[in-house]
Point group: C2
Amino acid sequence: MAGEFGDKILRIAKAKRSKLILALDVAGENGPETLRQFMERLDDLIVGIKIGIPFLLMTPPKSLEPILRERRQDFVFIADAKLADVAHVNALTSEILFNSGFDAVITHGFIGREGGLIGAKEVATKLGKGILVLVSMSHKASERIIDKALDDIIDEALLVDPDGIVAPATRPSIVTEIRRRIPEGMPIISPGVGAQGAPFGSAIRAGADYEIAGRALYASQDPVTAARIGVEEQRKAVPS
Amino acid sequence: MAGEFGDKILRIAKAKRSKLILALDVAGENGPETLRQFMERLDDLIVGIKIGIPFLLMTPPKSLEPILRERRQDFVFIADAKLADVAHVNALTSEILFNSGFDAVITHGFIGREGGLIGAKEVATKLGKGILVLVSMSHKASERIIDKALDDIIDEALLVDPDGIVAPATRPSIVTEIRRRIPEGMPIISPGVGAQGAPFGSAIRAGADYEIAGRALYASQDPVTAARIGVEEQRKAVPS
């Protein structure tokens, strides 16, 4: 298991000795400029940037294309669209995002493969891009429905041969369970580090490959120091 | 049960004697102009327009604001964001969409209320807007996970006192089941009429209040005739 996305993130992670991804959900007035500033400041500390839906609605993906292309060797770019539509809509959305320079899109595993996930997967395959399937979430009500279906969601995710699995750092036992269930080498990417409560390094100890932090970095008075401390914690979690 | 969204759609539906909503997933080169053309051509035939994620990524919601404000008395505008994120992100997304003139956003019920749906609901309440909770989908793999959880998903949806429920016209037995489960007066809105296979009027016979058609209208050689035939079929389904 190593698609182009997996190879790329692994190469960057080795070069930077980091497993940290920055999440940006809000764009401010000037999305491309916000993005550029974080890239410059955190250049050698983060392996990638995950951009959320509010950001993408304020800043059309097309307008990010120049900067994503310019820095495509230095970061992975993940569109956290949380796709959960029928296949033909997932395909349209994915195509817009991939053509704007994103390396991967996040899709909800909950919708299942046939007529759902497959729409994003086919476009990803055609364009040499990746899909990351979200199988669990960090919020309270995730216990009510999503967690009960975890086994089925992982099954459906694996049916599309995803480029990675997304599961929350705030639920380390679920991360460990997923690690057991999925093929060796398939990356697990864990949001929820920092402001949502999971310590840096904790998801890696539980079996994740990369950790995503949002507010702990972008809302910090000093994002560089916050990221440096985060990366140091990650290095302690996995002696390299 | 009658929030501002429910009152508005009911008023427009009575005035136009239609229960038809146009779905637009793709924007073309000029989203606002595409929207304007459909509004003019289908003015007296449709009660509202549901705009999908690919459209919103090509055409930032902010750029739709002038036209949505100008025609706010004549149509309901639904953002089919299929929100399925944690509460604070759902809140950010909803706020962008509501502030751009949308009357309601569609959220996925499977994320549950606490820490999930509640984020969109609180913003909707504050701004006098609506949330429509999707509880079932039309595609094949919906049977694998979503349908098994239908009871729990409806429970979670009702916990946020939604302005409407979204369920596919292609699954009439599920529409009928939902009608039995939800309070009288809470509208059911059914996509999947036309290209996805459900005949116009069929969801209304099953218990829905409004039907959504996309490709059967926007991809038709003659959208006006297609919509007129659709509305006539709806009128036969419910003698007014």
